[in-house]
Amino acid sequence: MDDPGKHASGMSKLWPDARAALDGIVKDGMLLAIGGFGLCGIPEALIVALRDTGVRNLTIASNNAGVDGWGLGLLLETHQVKKMISSYVGENIEFERQYLSGELDVEFCPQGTLAERMRAGGAGIPGFYTRTGIGTLVAEGKEHKVFDGVTYILERGIQADVALVKAWKADLHGNLIYRRTARNFNPNAATCAKITVAEVEIVVQPGDLDPDEIHTPGIYVHRLVHNPQPEKRIEKRTVRTE
């Protein structure tokens, strides 16, 4: 295989824990794609394990940057991140400090463009045209092209070295099912990396999932980690009273 450790032995892709699953596949200077929207559907254990590897100078494509002390915020505290490619980073004071002081580079990317860039990167599409960002800072320096009288900008696919994603359920072949809005960027991040590691709450045998209900086919998933009880912190606990 061209990518070491890409396929687990046999067809069980399950690794003992998050630390073992990241061993040997993450390196300084890598580009990572990480799933999640806010703190919803983030690969909690893998992020902690990534911090503990001590790898540095990472570029991370992820919609958000976590909060202080949780999610990707953990990697900001330890200065392991060189650059974020994100659409919204408003929940993180340490992020802001590093960004304003120039310690951290940020490429702001519209949310839909970011998701589509991950999908494109995984789908062998190096570039696509979109209206999003026309006439704004986002369009600066990008190729403009007219289709049927309307102007679009060229956006590039993202191909990551490693993707870390969170799903609800998996079989041992790495087929994934997500739950509710914890799906978000995870299916897109899962496709765009050379090696994808998935953290899941439930692991079942191949054949236990109906083929029609699988969201991410196992071909995209190289290593699985079982985390049966993630914390799942809630950012804004809103309830109705009536």
Partner: protein, 210 residues
């Protein structure tokens, strides 16, 4: 008298039509969901991957895996569906959402919108706003007519970094309702007791009246 936030939301709800698929922004636009007329079916899209968003959950219904684009816990209604971010924005970018009601910092008389960044202040990012304004069929802005300091938000030209150019169709403020027309802002409704002069005083852009 200026409309209250609730009155603004109620007025914005009159933009809805039966069968519409709608995206509501954070802030006052979120309140619009409370004023959907009885008997009208409007399906709310949340760009983090939910079509058929319901109200906030009861305490016992809270589910960390089910949030809206504002990261608040929500519920879903019968007939809801979930999907990835790429699929969500394919829906938005592809023009399948009938209407988005969004907040704004500034709107120009050409329909330019600024709602994501104030240079020199804290930068949070555009989230899905740029995708929404360039993809959704109709964009209605729902915002206070001026800033808390009384500065005009309806301008000849936006001074803040733009979210989109020529994208706004209608603006609903606490003072009036305006359409963006080829010749600029046209006031189509006044809040009770608000006069033409009061509007002109609080607006930098040229106002046209029917």
């Amino acid at each position: 008298m200026a409309w209250t936030r609730k009155q603004m939301a109620a007025r914005a709800a009159r933009e809805l039509q039966n069968g519409y698929y709608v995206n509501l922004g954070i802030g006052i636009p979120t309140l619009v969901a409370n004023y959907i007329p009885a008997g009208m079916t409007v399906t709310l899209q949340s760009e983090n991957g939910l079509l058929g968003m319901g109200p906030f959950p009861r305490e016992t219904e809270i589910d960390a895996d089910l949030i809206n684009a504002g990261k608040e816990t929500v519920t879903f209604v019968p007939g809801a569906s979930t999907f990835s971010s790429a699929d969500s924005f394919a829906m938005i970018r592809g023009g399948h959402i009938d209407l988005a009601i969004l907040g704004a910092m500034q709107v120009s008389e050409r329909g330019d919108l600024a709602n994501w960044m104030i240079p020199g202040k804290r930068v949070k990012g555009m989230g899905g706003a740029m995708d929404l304004v360039s993809g959704v069929r109709r964009i209605v802005v729902l915002m206070e007519h001026t800033t808390p300091d009384g500065e005009a938000k309806l301008l000849h030209i936006c001074t803040l970094p733009l979210t989109g150019t020529g994208v706004v169709h209608r603006v609903i403020t606490d003072l009036c309702v305006l359409d963006v027309t080829p010749s600029g802002f046209e006031v189509i409704e006044f809040a009770d007791g608000i006069t033409r002069e009061q509007l002109e005083q609080r607006t930098e852009a040229t106002l046209h009246f029917r």
